[in-house]
C-alpha cells in the first residue's frame, strides 16, 4: 500500500509512445533534462489500482538498444544501471499494430535484460481497417510476456494496461530467445570471464560507445577490455544478432498475426502521390507555410491587443495605488513593462508551436524531409536538416538538438551552424512591432503587406541559412560517411491532447526561460537609468523649468505639443460624430495646460535619462550604430539584447517608461511610445521605413542569443564554432543593416 514503482516507457519512434504517456499521466507530468546533457526527460505520476502509485518515465524513442545517438544512450544507460533511482521495476514496450515486426526487435532485446517487460500494442483501432488480426494468447506464450491491446486514440484498454502494470510481479523475466548461439565460443568465454553478470548486458557494454556515467566504472572497464574481436567482427556479429532476432520474430508472427492485404485501403499511397509530387509537393509545402504565417498574424491580433492594454493599465494602476517611491517605480517602469513586452507574444508563439506540432504529429514532416533531401544535399545539408530549420522558427535551441538524428557529422555540423539564421520566435516580437510601425496596413490581393513582410523575413532567414550552408560545404574539409535513413510513418489525424500538451509545454518553457532573463535585464536597465552621473541628473527639473521660463518652448518642444494637440483632435473627431469646430478648439484649449505639463515632464525625464549611467552607455555605442539609423536608446536595447533577442522590446519599453513620467491615454502602449519617438537633435521620427528595415535586417542576421551559443558549444564540443558563428553573423548583420539604411534614407 502506498508503494511507488518505477515504470519505463520504451518504444520505436512514431508508435504513439507519448500518447500512452499522456493517457497514463494526464497533466501530472514534468519535463526536464537528464543531468549534464540536453536530452529531454519526461516523467509523470499515474495512480494504479490497489493504491499503487507509478512513477512513469517516457524514454526517448529508439529502434534498438544499439545506440547511435545521445538520446538512445539515455535508454541504455538507464536499463543497465540497477543502482539508478529511476531503474524500472517494469519496462513497458510500446509498439504499433502495423509495425509489430519491427517494434518487436527492441522488445526481444529488452527481454534479454531480464527486467519484467510488458508489451503494449497501440493503435488497435486500426486493426480491422488494415485487415490485421492477432492471436494474443499465442503471442503472449511465445514472447513470454503479457500483452495490452490499447488504442490511445479511442481511449480503449488504458484501465487494463494500468492493471497489468500494477501486477508487474506476475510478468515472466526470462529472455524469449537465446541470441548467444550466433557465436558459441565467444559468448561461452565471455560468460566464464564474468560469471556474475548478465550475458546480454556484457554484450551491450562491449558493443556500445555509451558513456556509462553512473554505473560502476571498474566493472565496465574490465568488460570493455575484453575485446577479443575487431570492430568489423563485432559489427558482423551485431548483424548476425539482428538477423537471428528477426528470425525469431518472423516465426512468432507467422502464427500469431494474420494480415488480410485485400482489406487494406491505402490512403497513404494516394496522399503520398500528391504530397511528394515533384510539382504539387513543393507547391503544397509552400502554401502550408504561407497559410501558417497569415494565420499567426490574423488569429493573434485580438489577444495581443488585449494583453498590451492590460499591462499598460496595470502599470498605471500600480502607480496610482502604491505610494510613490523607488519600489513602485521599479515595478511600474521596470518589471511590468519588461514582462509585458514578452507576454504579449504568447499568442503568436503558441500558434507557431501548434502548427509545428500538427505537422510533426500528422506524419507530414517526414514527407518534407523526403521531398527536400536532394535539394538540401546540394547545399551540404540533409533532408533531415529541414526539421531543425523549420523548428528553428520556434527556437534554435531545440532545433540544434534535433540535428542529432542526422547521420553524417559534416551535414550535422553545417545544420547546427546555419540554424540560427532561421527566424526564431524570439525575433518575432522585434519583427512584429517594427513591421507594425513602418509597413503600411494595406492589402495586396487579399494578403496584407505586413504578413507578407513577415513571410519575406522568414524566407530571408531560410535563404541565408541555405546560402551559408553552401559556402560552408565548400570551405569545410570534413570527410564523413553520409547515411540517410528516414522512417515514413502513416498519416494520422493529430491527437488533440498531444498537440495541446506540446504547445503548453513549449510555450511555458519559452516564457519562463526568456522571462527570467528579461526580468533580470529589465531591473538592471531600470536601475542604470535611475542612477545619475552628474548634477544635470539631480537638477533636471530646475534646469528644464529655467530654460523654458527664459526662452519659451524650443522648436522641438513646440512641435511635440502641437503633435499632442493634433492627436487629441483626431481622437475627438473619431469618437464624436457631430462635433463642431468650436467645440474642438474649446476642448483643446482646455487640455493644453496638461499637454504643456506633459511636454515639460518628458523633457525632464529624457534629460535625466541622458545623464544617467544608462544614457552614458547609450552614448558610447551611438557612433557605431548611427550610420545604421538608430539612436542611443535603440543602442542600449541592442546591447542588452545580446543576451536574447526578445529583450530588445522589453528594454525599449523599460527605457520609454523611464523616459516619460506622465502617461496620457494615447501614449501608454509600447507601440504608441515607439511611434512618437524622435531624434533629439533633428526632431525626425526614429522609427522610419529606412531605420525600420535596417533594424529588421540587423535582427535577421545577428547572432544575438547566448543560449544558442551555449548549446552550439555543447553539441559541437568546442568553442571554435560558436565564436565563429557570433563574429561572422553579427558582422554580416551590421554590414547589411548599414547598406539598407544608407540606400533607403
Amino acid at each position: 500500500m502506498g508503494k511507488q514503482i518505477n515504470v519505463a516507457l520504451i518504444g520505436n519512434p512514431n508508435t504513439g509512445k507519448t500518447s500512452v504517456f499522456n493517457a497514463l499521466t494526464g497533466l501530472n507530468q514534468k519535463v526536464g533534462n537528464y543531468p549534464g546533457i540536453t536530452v529531454e526527460k519526461k516523467e509523470g505520476i499515474c495512480k494504479l489500482p490497489r493504491g499503487v502509485k507509478a512513477h512513469i518515465i517516457d524514454l526517448p524513442g529508439t529502434y534498438s538498444l544499439n545506440a547511435s545517438s545521445l538520446d538512445e544512450n539515455v535508454v541504455i544507460e538507464l536499463l543497465l544501471n540497477k543502482n539508478d533511482k529511476d531503474f524500472p521495476d517494469i519496462a513497458v514496450v510500446v509498439s504499433d499494430v502495423e509495425n509489430l515486426k519491427r517494434n518487436l526487435l527492441l522488445f526481444t532485446q529488452i527481454k534479454d535484460l531480464e527486467i519484467p517487460t510488458l508489451l503494449v500494442i497501440n493503435m488497435a483501432d486500426r486493426m480491422s481497417y488494415k485487415g490485421i488480426s492477432l492471436d494474443i494468447d499465442y503471442l503472449e506464450k511465445h514472447l513470454q510476456t503479457k500483452i495490452a491491446l490499447i488504442s490511445t486514440r479511442k481511449n480503449e484498454g488504458i484501465d487494463n494496461l494500468k492493471n497489468l502494470i500494477a501486477n508487474f510481479k506476475d510478468l515472466p523475466i526470462s529472455p524469449c530467445l537465446n541470441a548467444s548461439d550466433i557465436d558459441k565460443d565467444y559468448f561461452d568465454n565471455l560468460r566464464k570471464a564474468f560469471p556474475n553478470q548478465l550475458l546480454y548486458k556484457l554484450w551491450l557494454v562491449i558493443t556500445q560507445d555509451v558513456n556509462f556515467g553512473k554505473t560502476d566504472r571498474n566493472e565496465i572497464d574490465a568488460v570493455a577490455d575484453f575485446k577479443t574481436k575487431s570492430k568489423g567482427d563485432l559489427k558482423r556479429l551485431q548483424q548476425r544478432e539482428t538477423i537471428k532476432r528477426y528470425q525469431f520474430i518472423n516465426n512468432a508472427l507467422k502464427k500469431g498475426q494474420t494480415i488480410d492485404v485485400s482489406q487494406a485501403k491505402d490512403l497513404r499511397t494516394k496522399l503520398d502521390r500528391i504530397l511528394t509530387h515533384k510539382v504539387w509537393g513543393y507547391a503544397i509545402f509552400f502554401i502550408i507555410l504561407l497559410t501558417i504565417f497569415q494565420a499567426i498574424y490574423d488569429w493573434s491580433s485580438v489577444p495581443m491587443d488585449f494583453i498590451d492594454n492590460v499591462f499598460a493599465s496595470l502599470s498605471e494602476g500600480i502607480k496610482n495605488i502604491l505610494p510613490n517611491g523607488a519600489f513602485t517605480n521599479l515595478l511600474a517602469e521596470g518589471i511590468i513593462p519588461g514582462l509585458g513586452g514578452i507576454i504579449i507574444f504568447i499568442p503568436q508563439i503558441a500558434f507557431l508551436f501548434l502548427f509545428i506540432a500538427v505537422l510533426e504529429e500528422s506524419g507530414y514532416m517526414s514527407r518534407v524531409v523526403f521531398l527536400m533531401d536532394r535539394v538540401m544535399r546540394r547545399f551540404g545539408l540533409s533532408g533531415k536538416s529541414v526539421v531543425p530549420l523549420i523548428s528553428g522558427t520556434a527556437c534554435a535551441i531545440p532545433a540544434i538538438m534535433a540535428t542529432r538524428n542526422i547521420e553524417s557529422w559534416k551535414e550535422r555540423l553545417i545544420t547546427i551552424l546555419v540554424t540560427p539564421f532561421t527566424t526564431c520566435s524570439a525575433r518575432l516580437p522585434v519583427y512584429l512591432i517594427i513591421i507594425e510601425l513602418v509597413i503600411p496596413k494595406e492589402r495586396f490581393f487579399g494578403l496584407g503587406y505586413q504578413p507578407l513582410t513577415l513571410m519575406l523575413l522568414y524566407l530571408i532567414g531560410f535563404g541565408s541559412a541555405v546560402f551559408s550552408a553552401y559556402l560552408l560545404n565548400k570551405v569545410l574539409k570534413i570527410r564523413s560517411k553520409t547515411f540517410f535513413v528516414v522512417e515514413m510513418p502513416n498519416y494520422k489525424l493529430p491527437l488533440f491532447k498531444n498537440v495541446i500538451f506540446t504547445v503548453i509545454e513549449k510555450t511555458k518553457a519559452f516564457i519562463f526561460g526568456a522571462g527570467k532573463i528579461i526580468l533580470a535585464i529589465s531591473i538592471v536597465i531600470w536601475v542604470l537609468g535611475s542612477i545619475g552621473l552628474n548634477s544635470n541628473y539631480s537638477n533636471a527639473k530646475e534646469i528644464v523649468n529655467r530654460k523654458i521660463n527664459e526662452n519659451g518652448f524650443s522648436k522641438i518642444q513646440a512641435f511635440s505639443l502641437q503633435n499632442k494637440q493634433e492627436r487629441y483632435k483626431n481622437s475627438l473627431i473619431e469618437d464624436y460624430d457631430n462635433i463642431t469646430e468650436t467645440q474642438i478648439s474649446d476642448s483643446i484649449n482646455y487640455k493644453t495646460p496638461l499637454f504643456k505639463k506633459a511636454v515639460i515632464n518628458d523633457e525632464i525625464a529624457s534629460l535625466k535619462l541622458e545623464n544617467s549611467v544608462l544614457g552614458y552607455i547609450g552614448k558610447v555605442v551611438e557612433p557605431a550604430i548611427r550610420p545604421l539609423g538608430y539612436d542611443w536608446k535603440i543602442g542600449i536595447a541592442i546591447v542588452s539584447s545580446f543576451a536574447a533577442r526578445e529583450v530588445f522590446i522589453g528594454t525599449l519599453s523599460t527605457i520609454y517608461s523611464v523616459g516619460s513620467e506622465i502617461e496620457d491615454d494615447e501614449n501608454k502602449t509600447i507601440r504608441a511610445k515607439m511611434q512618437s519617438e524622435r531624434h533629439q537633435s533633428t526632431n525626425k521620427a526614429v522609427f522610419t521605413f529606412a531605420s525600420g528595415i535596417s533594424l529588421l535586417l540587423f535582427y535577421a542576421f545577428a547572432m544575438q542569443c547566448m543560449s544558442t551559443l551555449a548549446i552550439v558549444k555543447k553539441e559541437t564540443n568546442s568553442w571554435k564554432w560558436p565564436v565563429l558563428q557570433l563574429v561572422i553573423m553579427t558582422t554580416f548583420a551590421y554590414i547589411v543593416a548599414l547598406i539598407a539604411f544608407q540606400l533607403l534614407k
Binding site: S68, V369, P489
Partner: protein, 78 residues
C-alpha cells in the same frame, strides 16, 4: 551483374539477397533491411533521389547511394 536496390523502378519489387555490411548502417538492418526480406519501391523523390521503400512492411526512405549497396533479386511478375 546483379541488381541492386538502386535499379528498382517505381512499383517494382525484389527480394534482398545480400547487404554490404560496411556501407550499411546497423539502423537500416534493424528496420528490416535484411537478406530474405521483400522490398518494393513506392516513390522516387524529385530528381530521382532519395527512394521511398517498403521493406518488410516498414516504410522508409534512403538515398540511392546507400541503396546501391543492397543486392536484390527482382520479382518480375506483379
Amino acid at each position: 551483374m546483379q541488381d541492386t536496390l538502386a535499379h528498382l523502378k517505381r512499383g517494382e519489387k525484389g527480394i534482398i539477397t545480400d547487404v554490404s555490411s560496411i556501407h550499411i548502417p546497423l539502423k537500416l538492418l534493424e528496420m528490416g533491411c535484411l537478406p530474405g526480406n521483400l522490398v518494393q519501391l513506392l516513390q522516387l523523390a524529385p530528381f530521382q533521389d532519395p527512394m521511398y521503400l517498403n521493406i518488410n512492411g516498414t516504410h522508409l526512405a534512403i538515398r540511392k547511394e546507400t541503396a546501391s549497396h543492397i543486392l536484390i533479386e527482382k520479382i518480375t511478375h506483379g
